[in-house]
């Protein structure tokens, strides 16, 4: 007869949770702290250089300029993305504002509303993934603590968090998220679709000091649908930006030329 009526799995889970309880930290707080590591709270702009690899070989490059500003009402970043390279895409712009997404093509000089799913087709989605406030869009639960290898194969002691979409409009239905204990540096994330399909794996790397914090400047995105494809995203040129509210109107898109 056992002196512990609770099931074994419950006791194992409790053992993992105890250290956190002692620290008084919830999963939501960990995700929020990691959000603060990834991006500053104030409006800022940065350049993003994307390189597409197929079977390990570079096959295409994009250069984007991204302007991000947090919406005080939703606490989520709103993004304006301007395509600068390659020439065929230069001048295209995407407005990602809460649940309103608009794509502007300078060739047709018209703006088209796109769905949350459709925005994932373009490269602008990478910028959106990098600035998304996961603590706002997802409900977090601590899964375990683990030591995993980061993108440079260095061991990192991480909280392994399980994030479920807070509503059905979040970009991904489910995210697995690894955050380094102590530093709150995001190390790795896995993004899943509504159907449970693993879509992409993201490694954060190249942490540098910019805009008041030590933050990742690069992301490596492994496509899990087509395993031959990898995208690297290098950010640079971070600086505070004065981003007026009217930049987030679709009528502004044809006027958008960056700063």
């Amino acid at each position: 007869m056992s002196s512990f009526p609770l099931p074994f799995w419950f006791r194992a889970l409790a053992l993992w949770a105890l250290p956190l309880a002692a620290l008084g930290q919830s999963a939501e707080e960990i995700v929020a702290r990691a959000d603060q590591v990834r991006n500053p709270e104030f409006p800022f702009r940065f350049n993003l250089a994307l390189t597409e690899y197929v079977a390990g070989k570079p096959v295409g490059q994009n250069a984007l300029a991204i302007y991000s500003k947090k919406d005080p009402a939703t606490r989520q970043f709103r993004n304006l993305v301007l395509y600068e390279q390659p020439p065929a895409d230069a001048g295209k712009a995407v407005l990602l504002d809460g649940r309103a997404f608009w794509f502007y093509d300078p060739a047709s000089k018209s703006s088209v509303r796109i769905s949350p799913q459709q925005r994932l087709i373009g490269q602008a989605a990478v910028g959106d993934v990098l600035t998304v406030s996961l603590a706002v869009d997802y409900v977090a639960r601590l899964s375990s603590t683990e030591t995993i290898q980061d993108a440079a194969r260095h061991p990192r002691s991480c909280w392994h968090l399980d994030l479920q979409a807070a509503d059905d409009l979040s970009t991904y239905a489910h995210v697995e998220y690894w955050v380094e204990q102590g530093t709150y540096h995001p190390v790795k994330a896995k993004f899943y679709s509504d159907s449970g399909r693993l879509l992409k794996i993201l490694y954060y790397r190249a942490f540098e000091d910019w805009l008041g914090g030590t933050r990742p400047t690069e992301a490596v995105i492994l496509d899990s649908v087509d395993s031959s494809r990898v995208t690297t995203a290098k950010s640079s040129g971070h600086r505070p930006a004065n981003i007026p509210e009217n930049w987030f109107q679709r009528e502004f898109l044809p006027r958008f030329q960056g700063e």
Partner: protein, 463 residues
């Protein structure tokens, strides 16, 4: 204790598998990286320029129920296009935009060498002044577009007569190859709204509708874009949350039209949109024949013989549609188009009966003119139609895009269908192929057209 050991033993394979999985992921990370593309702050001058070669063979129908007036569309055409868009902002509050193309062309209906082998179009040439933040004043030739639908835009009031020599009937292409109107435009963009007012004055007499082979070589074609005074006032505002409708009032000459459009996401994958416009106007037949007489393209006697009804009535146009995006980068669109001034089933019966009547040969020019007029106005020929489109990015292989659309005339089921493929060889080079078919019986909208099949092969180089 034994339970703990058992748990460790049970977990060991799982941990090993986790390690293998992690190793497989890390091994995919590229080791050597190419130099990254330039991401410096943009300079005052930006340009997008490309050279494109387009070969356009066509297969014509051998016999038409209603004879087509000469010249017939060319059986083959070769075009070489130098397209440039320049944006120059010498000052923070002052910018200039120039967009246009130079075209060399040869076709079996164009003699060679003549001035017809070269064409120059200035699509846009305007200055923008920003007197204070959020306010913009534009003056010059401007392409002003409105609307949220993709197959037909009833609220895109400046589309009429603006499309020049499109490479295909794809509505996306029609939006790209059109001339702006000379206008003055004022716009103010607030945080939750925007207001635009534009005035395009009459600067030239209306020019006749010309076949592509007879388009002028060097001409701003103001007779197409600025033949009548036009005024547009439109505003967009955040109604609730992320719903931002646009309302429009458009005056052309003495005719007022009103319009509205709105688009909204439904769930994660669907966008629902509606575009509507309405105003008092005559039927398509009356408008076309009146314009033919006005421009000297049709004799009054021929028009009188067709007995058009000049009565004005409130006519509505609408596009109701939705888009659906899948996880596989495939996006589908479905739209219903209403063009109340267009042909009903009875109008089509009348068109064919007149064309087949003993006076048909006398009237066929006017009958086909009505259809050329609808095309020139970028309006549907028929009252009710369905438009479906599919676009698949990275189809089968990276950088291959497949797309296709079908425009179905609901009065007779005839269809304009088109499939296309484009492949980016590199960031600078691209290849494309397109096949278009007018399908239907001989007594139908698309089945009665002289072109049965047409194709386009393109090669484009950005520099």
């Amino acid at each position: 204790m034994r339970r703990g050991v058992a748990a460790v033993l049970l977990l060991s394979p799982a941990l090993a598998a986790f390690g293998q999985e992690s190793e497989a992921e890390l091994s995919r990370i590229p080791i050597e990286e190419p130099s990254t593309p330039a991401t410096s702050a943009p300079g005052p001058l930006r340009r997008v320029t490309y050279l494109e070669s387009a070969t356009e063979p066509s297969l014509l129908r051998s016999a038409l129920l209603v004879p087509y007036p000469p010249p017939l569309p060319p059986a083959i055409e070769q075009r070489l296009l130098l397209d440039a868009t320049l944006f120059w902002a010498p000052l923070h509050d002052l910018a200039f935009t120039l967009s246009g193309l130079v075209e060399l062309r040869a076709a079996d209906d164009i003699p060679f060498p003549t001035h017809e082998n070269i064409r120059v179009d200035v699509r846009e040439a305007f200055a923008t002044w920003q007197p204070f933040p959020g306010a913009y004043l534009d003056a010059g030739r401007v392409n002003l577009k409105s609307g949220v639908a993709i197959g037909y835009n009833p609220t895109d009031f400046f589309k009429a007569r603006a499309v020049v020599e499109p490479l295909s009937a794809d509505p996306a292409v029609l939006r790209e190859v059109r001339l702006g109107a000379v206008m003055v435009r004022a716009q103010y963009v607030w945080g939750r709204a925007a207001l635009t007012a534009a005035f395009a004055p009459a600067l030239a007499a209306p020019s006749p509708i010309l076949p592509d082979a007879e388009l002028p070589s060097f001409d701003p074609m103001l007779g197409r874009t600025n033949a009548v005074n036009r005024f547009l006032l439109k505003g967009t505002f955040d109604l609730v949350a992320d719903i931002s409708p646009e309302v429009l009032a458009f005056v052309q000459g003495r005719s007022l039209s009103l319009g509205a459009n709105v688009a909204e996401s439904i769930g994660k994958s669907v966008v629902l949109y509606l575009e509507w416009a309405g105003g008092r106007q005559a039927s398509l037949t009356e408008e076309a024949l009146s314009f033919g007489v006005l421009t000297g393209s049709l004799p009054v006697a021929v028009v009188t013989a067709l007995e058009p009804n000049p009565a004005l009535s409130f006519q509505q146009d609408a596009s109701l549609g939705l888009s659906y995006a899948t996880e596989s980068k495939l996006t589908l669109w479905l739209e219903y188009h209403l063009h109340q001034a267009g042909f009903s089933r009875q109008d089509w019966q009348g068109w064919f009966q007149t064309g087949l009547s003993p006076s048909g040969s006398f009237l066929s020019g006017a009958l086909w003119y009505i259809r050329a007029y609808a095309l020139d106005q970028v309006e549907p020929m028929s009252r009710n139609s369905i438009f479906a489109r599919a676009d698949w990015v990275d189809a089968f292989v990276f950088r291959l895009e497949l797309s296709g659309f079908a425009n179905v005339d609901l009065s007779d089921g005839s269809t304009l269908a088109q499939v296309s493929a484009s492949y980016a060889l590199s960031d600078a080079w691209g290849l494309g192929a397109l096949l278009s078919a007018n399908v239907g019986n001989r007594r139908s909208d698309f089945g009665s057209l002289p072109q049965f099949l047409s194709g386009v092969l393109t090669a484009r180089a950005y520099f």
